[in-house]
Amino acid sequence: MHAAVPVSSLSLSAPVFEPAIAAAVCRHCGDACLDRPVVTEAGTFCCAGCESVFGLIAEHGLSAFYTCDINPGVSQRAASTRDPQRFAAFDDPAVAARFMVSRGDRAEVTLPVPAMHCASCLWLLEQLWRFHPGILRSEASLLRRTVSVEFRPEAISLRQLAEQLAALGYEPVVDQEPPGRTPLARRHLYLRIGFAGFAFGNVMLFSIPRYVNGAPLDPEFQTLFGWLNIAFSLPVLGFSAWPYFTSAWSALRARAITLDVPIALGLAVLFGRSLVEVVTRTGEGFFDSFAGLVFFLLIGKLFQQKAFDALSFDRTMKSFLPLSVRAGRGDDLRVTPIHELRPGDEMVLRPGEVVPADAVLVDASGAVDFAFVTGEQDPVNIERGSYIQAGGRVAGRAIRLTVARAVSTSRLAELWSHPVFSTPKPHWLTGLLTAFGRWFTFSAIALAALGAALWWPDGRKAAEVATAVLIIACPCAFTLAAPITLGTAMGVLGRAGFFLKNPETALDLSRVDELVFDKTGTLTLGAATAAVRHDEFTDEEWRWVRRLAAESVHPVSRAIAGAETPAGTVSDVDEIPGIGIEGLVDGHRVRLGKPATPASSAAELTAWATIDGGEPRLIRVEPADRPGIGDVVASLAKERAVQLLSGDRDASAASWRRLFGDRMQFNQAPEDKLATIRATQQTGRRVAMIGDGLNDAAALAAADVGIAVSDDTACLVPACDAVIRGDRLTRLPAFLDYAVRGRRVIVLCFTVSLIYNALGLGLALAGRLTPLATAILMPISSLTIVGLSAGLMRTRIGRVLA
């Protein structure tokens, strides 16, 4: 079973992912079963986590889950590494009460479940009542990836509910604060569109007779229709289009000109001139164009608002800390929310828990890893009196600590208060549109003045021409192009497993010319998926070695032990940090240790094991590089610069040199990474940082585009501009090409709408811009832009989605 499973080859240039045998496919998640598959009567599973979820679903007669959608299951490989006590905070009534809404003997809770992704997930999550009689009803939202559950708290506690969801493979992500309500802005936008569309349709009814007639209607009809049009258009002016006026006004007050200024100007002139024409009975006005214009503009806004649907990207430091810990004075330990921790309090932290505040060790010894803070996964041994910084994660066994500083004054909190986190990132699009808006406004006003001068001294005609210029110059098509192109791109990329924070990020991405990679967790996978090779142990001996390794917290030992602890009794364990571990397994003396000389290949870690004093035998651990990552970096390096910034030691530097050359730095603290990003930007480059840990958070925030890699959907990622699924990292070149296509489509749309505008301006200056011409020209230009931007971003996307 455990004999050599050849996984990734070591050479980075060679195809890295080459399973020697045709791997079976996991019955639950559909992933290839590579390493230590679990085989049962029901089928083959990639890990025990998947097998148990499958069993749970089958036991409740819900196997239809697997037929609703293709590969609905989410791999549970990371599940075994989670802290079984992670929902303990919900045992505290005060914490639970913040998340629940109680109604009599019932309560409702809404939990984010990022693993939800398809129709099958939706179906299963709405059948939750079958799993526990205390669950009354559940409703899931695929859009927000949340599930709302109504339950009876005396029958099932919030903690049990969260654990039930986790057992089904839908790990709820619990943040310090419960998720907020649906933003009302979205509903307002729908109402605005509704009123504009309503007015557009009705105004059209009263405008078309005039167009069809070819000549002015009977005066009484013309007057009646004119006033009806005013009545229908007033809500459009005062409600639907109002945000454009307030936005333009605040821009002008700040002595700036945004793209909303010419829009507001165009809309105001359009409405004003139409009003004057109707009141003075000199014409029928442009109310149809006015309502239609606002309608189209708002449709464009709807694309922009897609950002609200996305997962929450704004993480604070506290998102990474536990909700509460067991703490108190003396022996009176109880579940305490972390913001109530005071210096001098004692707390007991279990393995896997994150130290929430700077603290001092009370126990004689312990082990903590600072993977979150520095990226270094190797646990550090600590002794009584050691000062442990917040963000460390307890390894090995539970430890008792004394709080030294409150949560808000820890070093981690200081890093988080760095201005890089509070300064909003300027989007290139925002700057572009502002520059464009200024140019556009001045050109429109200049052209209007020119038109008026041309027709002077005919004052009436001059005013007509000037207003016509301002009307036709309204940059409606321009405002549609960017949101629709980028909004569509954001949707397509989201389907491909690359989630953008907002549409503007797609454009920033297209301009990136330097990519900076973190190593651990980004280019390589965690120890849980490292490939272990040995060739001289029998299955039973190998089980002893694994059983002993499970006692250690060292990453190499963890890799050897695998995800599940093998059977066997262990006693007499002695671990000497930096040397190895020794113990009795099922009565056999097993020693597992480091080789005396460093491994020949730096990308490979080796260990030696002896059983009952026999010859030492070799075990090789290959910290698995992400499959295909070498090819990806090589192909990215063709068009863009690449750089490696790693928080850990340079043990594997040699193997990365061929990809990154000298542009590699190791032992980088979060501040160093931030400084390097800044320095790179100083040289005029636009940088994308690709990282995964809290130690990358500052660099992600400083980079032009910060991309967080997430292998485990339930795992928190740092604040960033985009989240990429770990297994989709290999498609980054295609994603970048697609972003570049988005930029080209926008340029094309701008060109096309400039042509339309030139056409309209010609008519306007010639004094021939009739309401009918406007009513035809404006929608056509808007629809062309909608068609071009949405259409071009949806065709030939096979390489993005593949």
Binding site: A64, L122, S141, L143, R186, Y190, G201, N202
Partner: protein
């Protein structure tokens, strides 16, 4: 003329009714999630024979 006025009033009332229905739909949250309900309607309950409720 009077016929037209009658038609306009009748048409306006119908249109206003639809607008009111739209406003009601937005305010009761029917546009908050436009992804899930169209999928949910296609899903069936598990067959009673298979389902176990404990």
């Amino acid at each position: 003329m009077s016929v037209i006025v009658l038609l306009i009033v009748a048409g306006g009332v119908v249109a206003a009714a639809f607008l009111a229905a739209f406003v009601w739909a937005v305010r009761t949250g029917q546009f908050d999630d436009t992804v899930t309900p169209p999928i949910r309607i296609l899903l069936e309950d598990p067959h009673p024979k298979d389902a176990v409720n404990d």
